[in-house]
Amino acid sequence: MLTYLPEALAAPVSEAEHAERGAAPSSRFRVPMSDTSSTASADDRTQADAGLVLRMAAGDKTALAELYDRFSRPLYATALRIVTDPTDAQDLVHDAFIALWEKAAVFDATRGTAFAWAVTLIRHRAIDRVRSRRRRSELLTAALPADLGYDEDSGASADTSAARSDQASAVRAAVATLPGDQKRALELAFFSGLTQQEIAQKLSAPLGTVKARIRRGLLKLRDSLAHRL
């Protein structure tokens, strides 16, 4: 599981070497020290993120600062979207990064990316908080400000980091290709904290239909992202 560490820490892969190796299977476990290139591939970003987590596991606070710069905007936006209160969202981001710092040593790059790990962590905490604060019936009627991929305000400023901004743009472009009902179902599934039944009730659609929309939407998003990232 951790066999890539010596190579990653002791001999960072150069940009040229990195480009040369491309998408070779072994490149998944090579971790560049930095990733500022706006043209970096998804694998490059993934490796860079994992490398930062591994440096954090070794107690490197500069790695934590770097990871914050890469993740904080989408994580904060997600938390704010779910809990709606800026103070709560800041507390959630703070607690999430401290959790990443403390649990960095148990991060397993073979089980998922660091970004997915961080998003899952903050999303769970945000939903727990909003569920504990509001009754579920209120969740049903809570207004959701914008549809996925159609929020004009969430454009270029979503992530000022060039690489992350590219990723955000690619995601929005991919989401924009989804049918409206699939986008709406995914939006509620990801941000609302509602159950399957509650989502169906919210959308006034049969439960089976809502499940099918989520399945199709997520598979299509995955396939679309594979071409864009």
């Binding site: 989408p74 994580l75 399957q196 499940k211 399945r215």
Partner: protein, 357 residues
């Protein structure tokens, strides 16, 4: 080959929408099927990218410093052991072994070989322990996730109970509203009744007055009835009297006087009352020491019964006197009037002046 059903479950699982037994069963399926596990991981990665679709908002600059300060505090509290990767450890161990071998080359060759073997064994043991700790951590995460699911279900149950309570409260309010309506209707009826009562009161007063008048009339009628009864009693008395009259014995007395042949007398006797009336007319006036005395002849006695004395008006010779017998009279055979000395006598001695049978 993954069917649509598992694709659907994988998508819902990636978005944390599976709960309870469905989630547990799917976790087991994922653990047993690497292809399904790969699908779940790819969908989790895809769903995580949705974080980029949230409206962009810049976190406050102070948050970064706050997080780094907290991280430093965590490090100070719990010094992080410097992680030395196992492959590096192997390298250093190997180097150490070679150094040791060089130092005691030839002398402790077999001993050194044994130490190297022991060191490899310890490394293997350490890796196993690390793997075990990771498994425990995974198990703890699964347990915690299930506990969270349970709490969420409990919260949903509480929410349903609250909804039910609200429904009951709404029903109670409806009943209260219905009761209020009934109360209002009852109030209106009461007002109507009061109005009717107000209308009826004058009638009642009038009826009371009528009653008083009727009572007065009744009393008057009672008085009239009493008077009538009295009159009837009087009439009955008169009738009785008339009945008595039927039993009266009337006897005319003729004059036996030569000088007063016109003298006449009538005697009426009521046997029931044992009394009678004697009416005389045109009898001659008597001297002052003389008196007339009436006698009643009853066959049961040997001598006439004394009927009392009387005088007449000197001018007209008339008189009317009530009389009774000195002794009880059963039957009257005749009357006689004699002239006696003043005050009368017990036994007749004078001449008969009038006689009647």
């Amino acid at each position: 080959m993954i069917d649509e059903r598992h694709e659907e479950l994988a998508a819902l699982f990636a978005l944390d929408l599976l709960e309870g037994a469905e989630r547990t069963q799917f976790e087991s399926a994922v653990a047993a099927d690497p292809a399904l596990a790969a699908l779940v991981q790819s969908l989790r990665e895809s769903s995580a990218t949705l974080a980029h679709t949230a409206p962009a908002t810049e976190p406050p600059p102070a948050l970064r410093a706050r997080i780094l300060a907290s991280a430093a505090a965590v490090s100070a509290e719990q010094p992080r052991a410097k992680i030395i990767p196992f492959p590096a450890l192997i390298g250093w161990a190997a180097a150490a072994c070679f150094a040791a071998l060089a130092a005691i080359l030839g002398v402790r060759y077999y001993s050194g070989q044994s130490e190297a073997e022991s060191l490899r064994s310890r490394i293997a043991t350490t890796e196993l322990a690390l793997k075990g700790a990771q498994n425990e951590n995974d198990a703890a995460q699964i347990i915690a996730r299930r506990q969270i699911d349970t709490l969420i279900q409990q919260a949903a149950g509480s929410s349903r109970q609250l909804d039910a309570e609200q429904q009951r409260a709404t029903n109670a309010e409806s009943r209260l509203a219905a009761t209020a309506l009934q109360l209002a209707a009852a109030d209106k009826k009461a007002v109507d009744a009061l109005q009717q009562l107000a209308q009826l009161t004058p009638r009642l007063d009038a009826a009371s007055r009528n009653t008083a008048e009727v009572r007065t009339q009744a009393e008057e009628l009672g008085a009239a009835l009493a008077a009538a009864q009295t009159h009837i009693a009087s009439l009955q008395h008169d009738l009785q009297t008339q009945g008595d009259l039927a039993n009266l014995k009337i006897t005319a007395l003729a004059s036996l006087l030569k000088n007063s042949p016109q003298a006449i007398a009538v005697a009426v006797w009521n046997p029931a009352k044992q009394e009678g009336v004697l009416k005389v007319d045109k009898l001659p006036a008597l001297a002052a020491d003389k008196t007339y005395q009436l006698w009643v002849v009853d066959p049961q006695y040997p001598n006439p019964v004394d009927g009392g004395v009387f005088t007449v008006d000197p001018q007209t010779g008339a008189q009317s006197v009530k009389f009774t017998g000195k002794q009880p009279i059963a039957a009257i055979a005749a009357y006689a009037v004699t002239m006696e000395r003043k005050g009368g006598v017990e036994k007749s001695a004078g001449p008969f002046l009038l006689l009647g049978k």
